[in-house]
């Protein structure tokens, strides 16, 4: 199958600064890919290159099989783009703005009303269609931006930080919407908020200092981090007893126990390797006739992965610099 996005050796330098360094990745049709990275990692730059707003210094970029530099106008027809901060003409009414945009995007006169209505309905802005955009709340404006991205029925949606600045309820709505849109469109979405990626995307690209550090499903990333063995347990027992019994288990690496309320003790148990300790701990509790009120696995979040990977990279960078200094 022809990939929706194909990026090879993409490099972008601004006066002296390397924003993107030999970036390569592909996105297959139908995927929802999360582009994850701290501020200034190069997410927006990559998206601007994909949409043809700025060119690359080096490398090849294809969207739907078309070269972004050579067929810029054609490529733009395949992309629904929502830039960072979602700039809109504030003096226009919602429906006017969408009509104008659909004309620009070459939607035929016959289809225009239908496309505009579809986009407004899909994003839930039909009831504000006559309002002036400048007077809308941030959540509604965000949806106007999304509606605009949908107008040309593009195969690919590129959304740069679509939930930034929204309140929790609005964030949830926008996320839900993106998930729904994923059924009909390939989506590349950038964010620095991790739960967002976890909930909406089926693949994550972690980008840091203009390089791709990881590309996998959220679950695989978690698994690869090898932190399956952290277990939290709460039993009615003395703290010392709990600690001693658990430390007797062969696969336990470390136990930190502390008293909890109502005569309970709480322990955080770390395993050697990626073993699930829960069954063994349960058996210990039964054997000692302790009442058990909590037994759960410590969850690895994408946050952990992200910090882990980016820190590793920073340390490696630091090492290289040290070595260079040493060599001199």
């Amino acid at each position: 199958m022809q990939p929706m996005i194909k990026v090879e050796g993409l490099t972008k330098r601004y006066a002296g600064v390397t924003a993107l360094n030999n970036l390569s990745f592909t996105v297959q049709p139908g995927e929802i890919v999360g582009f994850l990275g701290p501020n200034g990692a190069g997410k927006s730059t990559t998206m601007r290159i994909l949409t043809g707003f700025i060119p690359a210094t080096a490398g090849r970029v294809e969207v739907a099989g078309l070269d972004v530099f050579e067929n810029s106008l054609e490529v733009r027809k395949h992309i629904g783009y929502m830039p960072e901060n979602n700039p809109l003409y504030e003096d226009m009414r919602v429906v006017e703005y969408l009509r104008f945009r659909s004309r620009l995007k070459g939607v035929s006169r016959a289809q225009r009303a239908e496309r505009v209505d579809y986009a407004m309905e899909k994003t839930g802005i039909t009831d504000v269609r006559r309002r002036v955009i400048g007077q809308l709340s941030k959540g509604y404006r965000q949806r106007v931006g999304l509606a605009d991205a949908l107008l040309g029925a593009p195969a690919l949606l590129i959304l740069d930080e679509p939930t930034i600045g929204l309140d929790p309820v609005q964030i949830r709505q926008v996320r839900q919407l993106i998930k729904e849109l994923g059924q009909a469109h390939t989506i590349l979405i950038s964010t620095h908020i991790l739960p967002e990626v976890e909930m909406t995307c089926n693949r994550v690209l972690i980008i840091h200092h203009g390089k791709i550090l990881a590309s996998d499903t959220p679950d695989n990333l978690k698994r690869s981090l090898n932190t399956g063995g952290l277990v939290l347990v709460e039993v009615r027992a003395r703290v010392t007893d709990l600690r001693n019994r658990l430390e007797e288990l062969p696969e336990v690496a470390n136990v930190s126990a502390e008293p909890a309320d109502d005569g309970y003790a709480r322990a955080l148990v770390e395993a050697k390797g990626a073993v699930d300790l829960r069954e063994q701990i349960y058996r210990v509790a039964v054997a000692n006739r302790w009442e058990l009120r909590e037994l759960s696995r410590g969850r690895t979040t994408l946050e952990d992965i992200f910090v882990h990977i980016t820190r590793e990279e920073d340390e490696a960078e630091e090492d290289r610099r040290e070595r260079r200094r040493g060599a001199r």
Partner: protein, 246 residues
């Protein structure tokens, strides 16, 4: 072309969606109305070689200096400031279409303003006591106003493309228009005779306007202003594209 039409519609509605369009038109009508009243009062004092419209056309520089910076300052500077230029340039449209549509939009507004002064012609007709008006010089006068105006608008648009700040854009286009209208004319007075004097007189918009208002349509100023516009619009497109090679 379809894109230019869509963009032009947006440009025209933008003038009247904000208060700017109305303020500019009001300013223009006040200035021209007062001028017209003064002119008619002057002509009432006795017979003269001048016609009312001729004097009115010779005042074209006064609204140009203020009105053109006002209607062009927003065009690209505001798109850059608000970031909407990114929405525009990631839609399937070329820089050329955007620039031409914005130039046309300002030109249409400018033309509409001057069209309103057509009312003065009707007033003159009504009070001329049945004597037929000389239509030729009036039409060529309007042609001159439009011709010089479209060039100054292209300069205003160029200024607007070079900054994110509307005030800076207005000052820049004011300076350019001032140079071309006023300073060139002063120079032609300073260098009476000689090659320089001749050169400055050839370039002076006042000289051109006087010819147009007399009914003379010389192709030299026509070509001068049209090619000036082509250069200014070309430069504007290059400035817009400059994000690609910086």
């Amino acid at each position: 072309m379809r894109n230019v039409a869509a963009l032009l519609r947006r440009e025209l509605s933008a003038y009247f969606a904000s208060i700017v369009g109305y303020v500019v038109v009001m300013f223009f009508l006040i200035v021209m109305g007062v001028t017209f009243a003064v002119v008619v009062g002057y002509l009432n004092r006795g017979p003269t070689q001048l016609t009312a419209m001729k004097i009115l056309f010779s005042m074209f520089w006064l609204p140009s200096l203020v009105v053109i910076p006002m209607i062009t300052m927003r065009l690209l500077a505001e798109e850059k400031r608000a970031g909407t230029i990114e929405m525009l340039m990631t839609a399937p449209v070329t820089e050329g279409a955007v620039v031409v549509a914005k130039w046309l939009g300002a030109l249409v507004l400018y033309g509409l303003m001057w069209a309103l002064t057509g009312g003065y012609v009707l007033i003159l007709q009504h009070f001329s006591g049945g004597a037929p008006l000389d239509v030729g010089p009036i039409l060529s006068g309007y042609l001159g106003v439009l011709l010089i105006g479209q060039f100054l608008i292209a300069l205003g648009l160029l200024s607007s493309s070079m900054t994110k700040n509307q005030v800076a854009a207005a000052l820049m286009s004011f300076a350019m228009i001032f140079m071309i209208l006023i300073v060139l004319n002063w120079m032609s007075f300073l260098f009476q005779g000689g090659v320089f004097g001749q050169a400055f007189r050839t370039l002076s918009a006042f000289e051109h306007m006087e010819d147009f208002a007399r009914g003379i349509v010389d192709t030299r100023p026509v070509i001068l202003y049209l090619s000036g516009t082509a250069v200014a619009l070309f430069l504007t497109i290059r400035v817009l594209e400059s994000r690609k090679w910086r």
